[in-house]
């Protein structure tokens, strides 16, 4: 049997695309479908998917879980777990178009609109987000045949095994309206054929589409594991998502700062800075040296704030950006932008290691007024050095 994603590490090349309306106006999935379809040759039919933000306005305070089930037992086990930990506002099958012939053996795909059960939540040491994240980790690692494809609020991931344009048809993404769409077409070097392994990878409100193979994977994995993240899929996308979650949500940095830490300036550049700036960048690199991401990558990070694009420091992967009015376009290839917006302006290739941040207008306005100092979430997880020396060995110290 061919091993599944998570049992082995599978490098892949890809196409990525992102379309956002800064004003928050929502658009259907037609353009993103067209854009990713144009880059057909950058994927090989073994994975494609979309993330969409703003699609569930009627349920925007609920965690929207998109869940894949291989078996009926997996569904009943998951649902009894969800009923235990959450209050479920609504649950339904996600509508799909079974006539898309190229899509073979899809899992059972359900969605749930959930809020943490307040009694259960109060009994833990976690906040709402952490509680929900733990539940996602539990389902994905402990319930055989179940996989949470997305778990954020007012957003969702639609992904699977196939070419992205076929996956889009299958999920009928033209029927959804979002202010941010991202898309991914995958070219894995192996044939996992597993829907959970397709991209975007998501966690709470984060979604990531990624093209590349990071050579710092194991260093980054070991770093985030110290903070309680479990890298069960062994993918670059997964570990990059956890880095963003750690730096932006837990350590309280802006997304731009998180991206800056992951693609820190070179020591040569730091040495040329004035002393204060140099000390600042040095401290960041020293403390977050294991969060540096190395190797070729281009990523588009989606969140409730907007999108952020990032290239590796050496710019080893293509990523183009362009604008038109309140619309912002990103894609691995220029043609994938031109095909949906022929008169797009300011078309350019993004620089390596320089985060490209697109925020909703209202978010940008709010952020400008906020304190520029990060407020870390107090961690009750591992990593505290103030505890007394303990040892699990019989011969402790």
């Amino acid at each position: 049997m061919v091993p599944r994603e998570g049992d082995v590490r599978i490098p892949s090349g890809c196409a990525i695309s992102g379309i956002m309306d800064r004003s928050g106006t929502r658009h259907d999935g037609t353009d993103i479908l067209k854009s990713i379809a144009l880059m057909h040759d950058r994927s090989n039919g073994l994975g494609g998917g979309f993330a969409a933000y703003g699609i569930y306005p009627d349920y925007h305070d609920f965690y929207a879980f998109h869940v894949f089930y291989d078996t009926r037992e997996a569904r009943s086990e998951t649902e009894s777990f969800l009923n235990d930990c959450f209050l479920c506002e609504k649950q339904e099958r996600i509508p799909t178009d079974e006539t898309v012939r190229s899509i073979k053996n899809p899992p059972r795909i359900w969605r749930y609109f959930l809020q943490p059960n307040p009694h259960k939540l109060a009994a833990t040491e976690y906040d709402e987000a952490e509680f929900t994240m733990k539940a996602v980790f539990y389902i994905n690692s402990q319930i055989k045949g179940a996989f949470v494809a997305s778990s954020g609020k007012d957003m969702g991931a639609f992904k699977g095994v196939g070419y992205p344009e076929d996956i889009g048809e299958f999920y009928r993404i033209q029927d959804y309206k979002a202010w941010l769409w991202t898309a991914h077409g995958r070219f894995p070097t192996n044939t996992p054929g597993w829907w959970g392994g397709a991209h975007p990878f998501t966690l709470l409100n984060w979604s990531i589409v990624h093209n590349g193979e990071i050579s710092s994977y194991d260093t980054n994995r070991r770093y985030v594991e110290q903070f309680g993240y479990e890298c069960t899929l062994q993918t670059d996308t997964e570990v990059i998502t956890y880095l963003f979650d750690l730096l932006a949500r837990r350590h309280g940095f802006s997304q731009e700062m998180a991206a800056h830490i992951m693609t820190a300036p070179s020591w040569d550049d730091i040495d040329r800075m004035d002393p204060q700036q140099s000390a600042y960048e040095t401290a960041l690199r020293v403390v977050y040296s294991s969060a540096l991401v190395n190797g070729p990558f281009s990523i588009i990070l989606g969140s409730e704030e907007g999108m952020l694009a990032l290239n590796d420091r050496l710019k080893l992967r293509a990523l183009m950006a362009a604008e038109k009015g309140s619309m912002v376009y990103l894609a691995s290839e220029q043609a994938a932008i031109s095909v949906v917006c022929p008169d797009a302006e300011n078309m350019r290739s993004l620089d390596g290691g320089v985060p490209f941040v697109v925020q909703l207008d209202e978010v940008a306005e709010r952020k400008a007024k906020e304190s520029p100092v990060n407020e870390p979430v107090p961690s009750k997880l591992k990593g505290s050095r103030t505890t007394a020396p303990v040892s699990t060995d019989r011969r402790g110290v």
Partner: protein
């Protein structure tokens, strides 16, 4: 009493090539060679030869080679000639056998069972000639989270003190006394040139080397030789030596014959007296005592310098390292059992401790599992032989490495393992002025700089091949390693997959 000890080496001299110039005689502090004018040839006292190869290198006509003493053993694996000779020596003297340099026994060398990765197709290898390839490392403790003002680009509070290494290699502790001032000076000058650090060892800091203070780590060992507030503040960092890989569990002994005026002044002990370091620090009988010493030193240096704690790799090394991190050390140094020494009891050197590869992997894993790995730095030492060993050590979890023997070999050491005699013909492990003069510090420094520059280039080539352009991304990146010829348990402890997996 008739001495049963046989010579270990035999001097081979080509009669046709030898011009009886006497260079070999003048080169040899052991008194092996003698130009016998009566006999009209050069004779050799083979039993005195330690195979330091000085005469081989110096002979202008390349007439000399050293071979093993041709005597065979009786053929058993059990009563080898070496075992029998050791008994002969002890039967003769009733003494503890002494030895020098690292453990020479044929234990597995795990470095040689770990292969490195390279990129093909799915991710490009990076060419260090075309792209920046960063090998800079900082050592010190770090908070888990930084508080940052993103608009004003300020950090508060400041991060704890760090030392900056432009190459991930430092020169390990070798004291003035064990090695010559010229040897220390060579390493000090090389450290300055390379942007890294040399370590004073436990013998204090000679006044001539104080100008290299910013590239110096001062060591505090159980003998506390040369330690005062001035000394603690003279270097860039302080290292508390608990143990040494070559001789875990025991102290040190510098014979009085090596304690000349300069050594005496630097160590702050009377001339001609033995300098004996006790086995433990007598103010550290437990982990909480270590914490007190760490903070005493931090107080004495006003929290401006990182404090390292060096331990020998022993069975329980992972738990001990974790305790050291929690005791407040900024840097943990783990020294494996193949690490060198100026002198150690042979039985200790050859039988005590564990390999650095396993110890390092275990320490890194334990600190990681406890969620504190990123808060301290880990330095590995104990026989790093090449740039490839450094890459392996960093991939197993080290921030940087110390080298000792390799640096001495660059200076001329030929690993004859006779450092304890004080008659080092290369001017390294000796205090005799006629011998130390042979080591010119400028030339010595240049040789060491050349070595490390060459290694660093090789490191850049290898990590570039992996698709990595900063050494930060190699640390703990065990996916870049694959094992060959290892069993399941070894792979598990090393945390690496088998080649082909």
């Amino acid at each position: 009493m008739l001495d049963y000890v046989l010579p270990r080496y035999r001097v081979l001299r080509d009669k046709d090539e030898c011009i009886q110039c006497g260079v070999c005689e003048r080169s040899c502090s052991n008194g092996v060679h003698h130009v016998d004018t009566d006999l009209g040839r050069v004779t050799a006292d083979h039993s005195k030869c330690v195979n330091c190869q000085r005469c081989v290198v110096m002979c202008p006509t390349q007439a000399i080679a050293i071979s093993k003493w041709p005597q065979v053993g009786n053929g058993t694996n059990n009563w080898t000639l070496e075992n029998m000779q050791d008994i002969a020596k002890q039967a003769q003297t009733g003494a503890v056998l002494l030895a020098s340099m690292g453990n020479p026994k044929p234990y597995p060398i795990y470095w040689d069972h770990l292969l490195l990765n390279a990129s093909q197709v799915t991710n490009p290898s990076i060419d260090p000639l075309r792209e920046p390839m960063e090998t800079r490392v900082f050592l010190g403790s770090r908070p888990n989270v930084l508080k940052v003002n993103e608009r004003e680009h300020t950090i508060s509070p400041k991060i704890p003190p760090q030392i900056k290494l432009d190459v991930p290699v430092m020169f390990g502790a070798m004291s003035f006394g064990a090695i010559s001032l010229n040897a220390q000076k060579s390493l000090a000058m090389a450290a300055e040139e390379l942007g890294t650090y040399f370590n004073t060892g436990e013998g204090g800091l000679h006044k001539d080397l104080e100008r290299y203070g910013k590239n110096c780590i001062v060591q505090v060992a159980s003998g506390r030789f040369g330690v005062d507030p001035h000394y603690l503040n003279a270097g860039a960092a302080i290292e508390i030596k608990i143990g040494q890989g070559a001789k875990p569990g025991i102290g040190g002994h510098l014979p009085g014959t090596k304690v000349n005026e300069e050594v005496s002044r630097t160590r702050m002990i009377p001339e001609g007296t033995d300098a004996i370091s006790p086995a433990p620090h007598h103010d550290i009988y437990s982990i909480e005592d270590l914490r007190q010493l760490i903070f005493s030193i931090k107080e004495a240096t006003r929290y401006t310098k990182p404090v390292a704690v060096k331990i020998a790799a022993v069975h329980n090394v992972a738990a001990i390292a974790s305790g050291i991190a929690r005791a407040g050390a900024d840097i943990i140094v783990v020294d494996g059992f193949r690490g060198g020494t100026g002198a150690a009891p042979k039985r200790t050197r050859d039988n005590v401790g564990i390999p650095i590869e396993l110890a390092l992997a275990a320490v890194d894993a334990r600190l990681h599992d406890e969620g504190i790995r990123s808060m301290v730095s880990v330095v590995a030492s104990g026989s790093i032989r090449s740039s490839a060993d450094i890459v392996r050590a960093i991939a197993l979890g080290a921030d940087a490495v110390y080298i000792g023997s390799a640096a001495l070999i660059a200076l001329g050491c030929h690993q004859c393992q006779d450092c304890g005699s004080g008659k080092c013909n290369w001017g390294i492990a000796t205090q005799k002025p006629d011998l130390t003069r042979r080591l010119n510090p400028e030339i010595g420094a240049q040789r060491v700089v050349n070595l490390i520059r060459g290694w660093n280039r090789e490191i850049q080539e290898m990590i570039g091949g992996m698709g990595i352009n900063a050494i930060d991304s190699l640390r703990g990146n065990r996916l870049m390693l694959r094992g060959v010829g290892l069993n399941e348990k070894e792979l598990e402890i090393l945390g690496v997959k088998y080649a082909g997996e």
